[in-house]
């Protein structure tokens, strides 16, 4: 099975929506910290859940460049293709 940015992004959104505090109208272009009001710890903890679902590890230094949900999806697809 090959993951695409679209499929990973959809999975991330599904996971985010499981949290009742997250706005209902999010899409791939939403900024994770600004639009979802996640602090850095919340982002790291959320990424850990995504890592487990997709069996991939996202190094913390990569998180620094990630702003939007699609950025995170692209980073994960890239890591999976390398792995």
């Amino acid at each position: 099975m090959s993951d695409t940015i679209e499929s990973v992004s959809a999975l991330i959104i599904e996971k985010l929506l499981a949290n009742p505090k997250v706005p209902r109208d999010i899409d791939g272009n939403c900024k994770i910290m600004e639009d979802l009001a996640f602090d850095s710890l919340a982002v790291m903890n959320f990424v850990m859940e995504v890592e487990d679902t997709l069996d991939v590890s996202v190094p913390l230094d990569k998180l620094a460049d990630i702003r939007t949900i699609n950025d995170l999806a692209a980073c994960i697809v890239d890591l999976k293709n390398k792995g």
Partner: protein, 403 residues
């Protein structure tokens, strides 16, 4: 012009709300004078100290005070230089020899603080292709070390050896060395690392292991060497990092190891090289405190008895306190409003503890973080429990029919 300080607006309003709700700044407490290891003068009142990390009470050790006075008289008050230039005096090497011998390790490096010991070791040991694997609840000094390093940094779930194993397995086949970093006792919660399980994962996966025994040195283990000694897995620990600023009552940090390459770490480690070394009086006081610790193993028994007494008391009055007994006992509260009122009431009634607020706490709930000392008397602990009960009732944390 863009203000440099706009980024502090959030801090300013959060602090403003804290001060308004409680009447004082919880991060601006002044201990006017320590009267003993367990009592300090705060706002002119004699206050029981239950938040100083001074586990063995050695900040007031007569032997350490005398040693510091003698060292100042003989050597002056500072070294004015880096460890790799003019900042190594015979005392510095003596302390390194003493601490290495105490751990039965080949060598030790002494840093100016424990913060710098973590910053230095973690940033220097791993290179660009290496992996740093950190417990999610690691101390700021560990996270900061990871940011200073060029390595890939991966977090695993707090105290979860299976999760660590899973994340290491994911790296199978990738080149680069793996360094796992855990703490002995976690500073905020008092959680003790399952170090035997971590050591097994380290062995199975061919990783290196660094343990920060900041809060467990002097506290756990037959000789006070920390959780690795207590669990009988010292041989699996490649690097022990620690601090003098807790159980030894002074200031400074160290790393001990059997790896002979520690000698080269000295010459690549920026937080070791580009800062002045500890002054002679601190080194001398630390050596004396270490002798005290070695000579008085009963301090550890008293400490654990005291921790058990406070822990049982908290549970008896119905507080949500840490599950494990350790000298760090955290009381978790559900929301900030209660935490602020309760912390202020504690101080007014005569007990000082640390107020820890999110995001510095692991699960977004505020903590009243207590640390116990060997030198607390049973009467002081019972008094603290009574005051916690009263403050808990006043803050609406406890219910009169239960507590």
């Amino acid at each position: 012009m863009t203000s440099l300080f706009a980024k502090f607006n959030g801090t300013a309003s959060a602090l403003g709300a804290l001060v308004e709700a409680g009447g004082r700044n919880p991060f601006g407490v002044v201990i006017e004078k320590p009267l003993s290891s367990t009592v300090g003068l705060i706002e002119g009142r004699e206050t029981l100290l239950f938040g100083t990390n001074n586990y063995l009470g050695l900040s007031q050790s007569a032997r350490a005070i005398k040693a510091a006075q003698d060292a100042v008289a003989h050597y002056g008050v500072g070294t004015t230089g880096s460890r790799i230039a003019n900042g190594t005096q015979s005392l510095h090497r003596k302390l390194e020899t003493q601490i290495a011998a105490y751990f039965k390790r080949r060598d030790a490096m002494v840093f100016s603080t424990g913060y710098q010991a973590n910053l230095g070791m973690i940033s220097t040991l791993v290179g660009k292709d290496d992996y740093l694997i950190l417990d999610a609840d690691s101390h700021a000094s560990i996270y900061d070390g990871s940011r200073l390093s060029p390595a890939q940094v991966i977090r695993f779930r707090h105290n979860d050896a299976d999760d660590l194993h899973k994340r290491l397995k994911r790296l199978d086949g990738t080149p680069g060395a793996k360094l796992v970093v855990v703490e002995g006792i976690y500073s905020m919660t008092g959680n003790v690392a399952p170090i035997a399980e971590m050591a097994q994962v380290k062995r199975e996966t061919g990783s290196y292991l660094l343990v920060d025994e900041a809060h467990s040195f002097g506290v756990m283990g037959e000789r006070g060497l920390g959780v690795a000694e207590a669990a009988g897995v010292e041989a699996d620990v490649d690097f022990v990092v620690g601090t003098f600023s807790k159980s030894l009552g002074t200031v400074g940090g160290y790393c001990v190891s059997d790896h002979p390459e520690l000698e080269f770490v000295r010459l690549n480690c920026r937080p070791y090289m580009f800062t002045a070394s500890l002054p002679p009086e601190v080194i001398a006081a630390t050596m004396a405190a270490l002798q005290d610790m070695e000579a008085h193993p009963e301090l550890r028994t008293q400490l654990m008895d005291n921790a058990a007494r406070l822990h049982a008391g908290f549970h008896r009055i119905g507080l949500n306190a840490s599950r494990q007994v350790s000298p760090v006992i955290a009381v978790t509260l559900e929301e900030m409003g209660q935490a602020i009122v309760m912390w202020n009431r504690l101080l007014e009634l005569g007990v000082y503890v640390n107020l820890s607020v999110p995001p510095a706490t692991p699960d977004h709930r505020p903590l009243l973080r207590c640390s116990v000392m060997a030198t607390h008397t049973p009467a002081q602990i019972d008094q603290a429990i009574d005051i916690f009960r009263q403050a808990g009732l006043d803050a609406g944390v406890l219910n009169a029919s239960v507590a």
